[in-house]
């Protein structure tokens, strides 16, 4: 007998699942090349799911369902809400692009995106190693298929295979780590694992052994050095709309999964995993920023930029436990959460502009393709400039407050090593500023190579403007989202 709470806690997931199936069937009857009906129903579904998740998030109750298999709390609900919005925005930006590239022959783009989103939901909600793993697989399998959606395109297919092989290996790592922990603690339930580890009766070596594999698996999913190899190739090879699908919403889910596994499951081992994260973060900042300088392809450059930005997210996670004291945990984890959310928001807008500039038979991929965009369309050049300045962390844009809160989380710990780390990361972001500025330079200072006007459908235009405006508004008034992150993380730590 499954109780009512269980059903309530997974209601949005169920809705998503049902609608994904309905849309897959319904699409058989849709004949228009741009799949207008499928698109509308998909957006409607996503909007209602996002609204539901926002209500769950705002109600701030923690519910455990199906015998502790899944958990619904404010942090999870908000992450899911933002992920849903991100998928929605991705579909709005990506549809014209996909339509021009014969990717809308069937409705797979919509169905697969919905299943990928469902996977993200399960990852974020899982309170059990296997549930989280299932969610992850649902997400990644859908993503592999999405990358390969352009069947006749060699580069995309290559990217899909690369992604699949490496992704499968990383999942293997994660699963292996989970089995180690299961062996050591005798449970797959995250709450039970936490208690077993906290009791101190478990053999430390086995735990650390499992932990290493779990961190490696997570690092792959987040895309941090040295598990970053797939990111540039997949970002570049995948059709741009799919790149955004991989590089946007899943970052939120990967963050949620990291929080569930490392914080909820293994907080007593923080001293160990914080060290690992430090190595990952520092190398990501170095590799990501330096490698990005050399890129001429925007997608590849943004891929390396992602790597360095994820390094910052990890920096935030490191400040949680200081000398066995978890006083700064809420501050640290909420700074990372804020960082991920603003990062996804910014990424959406930057890829949105790239998608807009790609036309039938023309991929806007090289940085040089952006030349003189300001003369062609001041509005879109402005939006792109805002995203670049935001990624570079220049106030008053959202990205600045993300960096500020992470730096603050590091420095507040009072650990001297973290202070140096803050200075180091700041210098790295100076290097990062260079390649973001270069994009702006190309758009504003160079002469356009083509005089063609940038054409955008009404839906794309409105969403893109709102997206750009959100980055600025969040830069002027970051307080609300910061408070939201702080509240949710505090609630998660309390439960």
């Amino acid at each position: 007998m499954i109780d009512k709470i269980s059903w309530i806690s997974v209601f949005p997931e169920l809705l998503l699942l049902v609608m994904a199936c309905v849309i897959a069937l319904m699409d058989l009857a849709v004949r228009t090349p741009l799949r207008g009906a499928t698109y509308a129903v998909t957006l409607l579904t996503l909007a209602s799911v996002a609204l539901l998740e926002a209500m769950y998030g705002a109600s701030a109750t923690t519910m455990y369902g199906f015998g502790n298999m899944v958990v619904t709390d404010a942090m999870g609900s908000w992450l899911k809400c933002f992920a849903t919005v991100a998928v929605m925005v991705t579909l709005v930006y990506g549809r014209p692009y996909a339509g021009q590239r014969d990717m809308l022959r069937g409705g797979e783009l919509f169905t697969l995106s919905l299943f990928a989103l469902l996977g993200m939901f399960v990852m974020v909600s899982g309170n059990n190693f296997l549930v989280i793993y299932l969610g992850l697989e649902l997400l990644t399998l859908s993503s592999y298929a999405l990358v390969a959606l352009r069947r006749d395109h060699v580069v995309a297919t290559e990217a899909a295979i690369k992604y699949f092989v490496l992704g499968a290996m990383a999942s293997g790592f994660l699963l292996y780590g989970m089995s180690m922990l299961y062996g050591a603690t005798g449970s797959l339930d995250i709450t039970a694992v936490f208690k077993a580890i906290a009791s101190g009766h478990v053999r430390h070596q086995v735990l650390i052994f499992g932990l290493v594999f779990i961190v490696a698996g997570l690092a792959f999913k987040l895309g941090v050095v040295p598990f970053h190899m797939w990111i540039p190739d997949v970002y570049q090879g995948a059709p741009t709309a799919v790149t955004l699908m991989i590089g946007g919403a899943p970052k939120l889910a990967a963050f949620g999964m990291t929080m569930r596994l490392l914080v909820e499951g293994m907080l007593p081992l923080a001293i160990d995993w914080q060290q690992m994260l430090m190595v990952l973060a520092v190398s990501s900042l170095v590799v990501g920023n330096f490698a990005a300088i050399m890129q001429t392809n925007v997608k590849r450059m943004l891929a390396f930029s992602t790597i360095s930005q994820m390094g910052f997210v990890l920096l935030g996670l490191m400040g949680g436990v200081v000398n066995g004291n978890t006083l700064s945990a809420a501050n640290a984890y909420s700074s990372s959460m804020f960082y991920v959310i603003t990062y996804v928001l910014t990424t959406l807008a930057s890829f949105g502009v790239l998608l807009l500039l790609s036309r039938e038979g023309f991929e806007s991929e090289e940085i040089a393709d952006l030349a003189g965009l300001n003369q062609r369309s001041p509005l879109y050049a402005g939006i792109m400039a805002v995203t670049m300045f935001s990624l570079a962390g220049i106030p008053p844009l959202a990205g600045f407050y993300a960096k500020l809160s992470v730096l603050q989380a590091l420095i507040t710990t009072g650990v001297p090593a973290y202070l140096y780390l803050a200075v180091f990361s700041v210098i790295m972001s100076l290097i990062g500023a260079f390649y973001y500025l270069r994009v702006i330079k190309v758009m504003y200072f160079d002469a356009p190579i083509t005089a063609s006007h940038v054409v955008a459908g009404a839906d794309v235009r409105v969403v893109l403007c709102l997206n750009g405006a959100a980055i600025i508004v969040l830069g002027l008034m970051p307080g609300g989202l910061m408070a939201l992150c702080a509240r949710s993380v505090l609630q998660m730590l309390g439960s």
């Binding site: 500020l404 730096l407 200075v423 700041v426 260079f434 702006i440 200072f445 008034m477 307080g479």
Partner: protein, 491 residues
Amino acid sequence: MGLLSLAIWTPIAFGLVLLALGRDDQAPTVRWVALIGALISFLITLPLYGQFDGHSGAMQFVENAPWIERFNVNYHLGLDGISFWFVLLTAFINVIVVIAGWEVITSRVNQYMGAFLILSGLMIGVFCALDGMLFYVFFEATLIPMYLIIGIWGGPNKIYAAFKFFLYTLLGSLLLLVALIYLYTQSGGSFDLQTWYALPLGRTAQTYIFFAFLAAFAVKVPMWPVHTWLPDVHVEAPTGGSAVLAAIMLKLGAYGFLRFSMPIAPDAAHEWAGFMIALSLIAVVYVGLVAMVQQDMKKLVAYSSVAHMGFVTLGFFIFSDLGVSGGIVQMIAHGFVSAAMFLSIGVLYDRVHSREIAAYGGVVNTMPKFAAFALLFSMANCGLPGTAGFVGEWMVILGAVKFNFWVGVAAASALIFGAAYTLWMFKRVYLGAVGNHHVQELLDINAREFFMLLLLAAAVLYMGLYPKLFTDVMDTSVTQLLTHVAHSKLN
């Protein structure tokens, strides 16, 4: 909404409207909207003068509202005698710059004017901010419009200059950010400047903070040896950009010393005063000599700016009433004079399209009215009594002599170099026989240019003849600052 908020947000609002105005076929409308916006923004700052109480050292026109509650950041604005004149100066220069770009800028006029209006609002924000984070946000945000101004409307090597400007200043300010967060932690979660003033800090902490601040402010001022970005940037920036850069943006750094470095880390400031004085003197003497050998007019004025800003930092770090007030007066004077110098060069450049001194000669023959203005500004630049340039330098030198005779002598020697490079340039460009056919064909300044230069000339003369207007306002605040700084924070 208080007066200060209006002073900050009016130009920004007008700037955004201009950005939305669109294409170049509407250029005349755009120019008028920009001028009206700049004038309104300037007029808004005038009531500040009427209502400002010069006898009070307290912050006035204070506005305080929570902004980011999570980090206890407040939208806290206020003016005291130190920052007062800069708000008016910024708004004034903004009007001048809009007039200066009137016919000169023909491509993307709305973005040009919009960038300057937004920039002006942001800079006023820097001078008004009483919250560390608010200050930083304004301070950094100024980089965005300036980067675009240099990169879009600049000279042949504009891209190099734009990147150099951005990255050079960003490096300094990122360390400032770390210091601000450190202070936030130390003060138990506050970005409020008044709290930081009262915060006791150990010697090591103060030294670190002092140098982190120094990294940001020294680059901005710029002090020797981190001044190398300035000549490159000035040469490539459009005339308006150079004027704003020299007149206001350099002051942001010097102002930072007064608002942050000295009161927050007073012991470190005293301990390293000798170092700061040495750097300032090198700027004054060595950079003055460097200015003398320049072939490019803008480069010459850029180096002369570095030398003049050396006077400012020298004045600050001798910790006397005369020195600090002198430094502030010098900042204001340099705001007028350097803007005037760059705009004069702009007038010539618009006609001949060369900044080389050698490309001119005998301009006085074809442009007599303009040459008269140029002479006045040159005299002010070398500190002739009766012009704005004299007052500040004289006060600083007086303070320096009291502090140490030889420091005073070294500083005073700069007057000679200043006169040498300015007058020599004046001689080569304006005097003598007509140099070439370009000069022969020159037309004298039109009504717009005349009006623009007249405004600046009036300011330069007024400040030179009646500096009391400027010094009266700042006396109490400077004394209060020095009393605070004299008090050790070590227990």
